[in-house]
């Protein structure tokens, strides 16, 4: 699969990697049993610290989305939970798309919308508290 990391955003690179793998599994771009490149190979390809890839892989393993086999690489495990999660994400995206469209109609620029999202995500923790 193709990864695209953005070093200048607020998100750590390992989180970006994790999200892209998760997203690929949810959309079906990655299938159950697919193999991802080894830590060294991917680090060299993306030109990031091997620790970045190692951390993303180990967190994804912890989440049950990857299986790391000693010496032979990382394998994707897509379970039913991932698919139902994919449906959730799909629905949420549709809602977001509607909302963003509405905000654009109200005259807000993409940048303003993005910053408003950033601010809302920070507040308040007790309602968002789920993750």
């Amino acid at each position: 699969m193709f990864f695209k990391l953005n070093p200048t955003t607020s998100q750590p690179l390992y989180l970006q990697l994790m999200q892209q793998v998760r997203h690929a599994a949810e959309t079906g771009a990655l299938q159950d049993g697919d193999q991802l490149p080894g830590i060294r190979t991917l680090a060299e390809e993306l030109v990031v610290s091997p620790n970045t890839v190692a951390k993303a892989y180990s967190e994804l393993e912890h989440d049950g989305l990857l299986e790391l086999r000693q010496g032979s690489g990382a394998f994707v495990c897509v379970r039913r939970r991932t698919r139902s999660l994919a449906d959730h994400v799909h629905v949420a995206r549709r809602k977001l798309r509607d909302l963003i469209e509405q905000l654009r109609d109200d005259g807000l620029s993409n940048e303003e919308i993005q910053r408003a999202f950033e601010a809302e995500l920070l507040y308040p923790a007790e309602i968002v508290g789920r993750r």
Partner: protein, 297 residues
Amino acid sequence: MTDAPVILTHGLTKSFGDAQAVRGLNLSVGANRITAFLGQNGAGKSTTIKMLLGMVRPSCGEGTVLGKRITDAEENREMRRKVAYVAEDKPLYSYMTVEQTVRFASSFYPDWREAVAGRLLNEYKLPSQRKVKKLSKGMRTKLALLLAFARRPELLILDEPSEGLDPVGIEHLLQMLVAQAADGVTIFFSSHQIAEVERVADHICILDSGRLLLNASLDQLRQSYRRIDLVFASAAPDNEFRIAGVEKIQAKGHQMVLFAKSNAEAVVERARDLNAVSVEVAPVGLREIFLETVKEN
């Protein structure tokens, strides 16, 4: 990443006459990671590195590299066998050819990898029969890098390794750093190339006027530094925002800009309590973090 630090200094200080180049430096660099050492010209980076390697004697303070005391000549020799170093001025013997330089260096190091040296000689397109004094600045840098990368050290220290390299050369250098790190080599390098540092570094140290101002993981910095733009219906109440983590406050009329090292959530909450008309939170890149940190000093 929990191993003992590979570099550890305590109160490390170097004075040249009345000028203090390095002041009471307490530096700790972890094993198995890539640490970038940032600072303006003259901040004391090269002096620090030379003290670590035993090339400059500290005025006071102490330190260890790979557990060996930097001021003990015998321990220093042992340490240097396990450390590869690329110096800022890339000192090479100008009367030797590229080939002679490589052969000469290979005889010093038991960890020399002939195959890697050969491969890099090709990749860098270095003219093996040309004398060092006839090499361009970029070629000299590449030759100096080759001499370090051909080894398999425990610790690799590079002082401004990208100097004189074009974008392709820099990309290749970063790939080599990543490959070395994947082999388990700990890397400590100084650089002005913030965009590159932002990609490969695990950890950032910022030195200014001989003092260590910041020593943190890059992930931590990405997650905690924020710029917060606020607008109020009346004059901006900047006195209400002296909260832990807020580094800088600028108020102008109804507007206010805050620079928070941490605790952005508390700032946003305070802004809501004070009925801010607009609250915008934006991430802060390493370039801004560096400039702000150095400016504050």
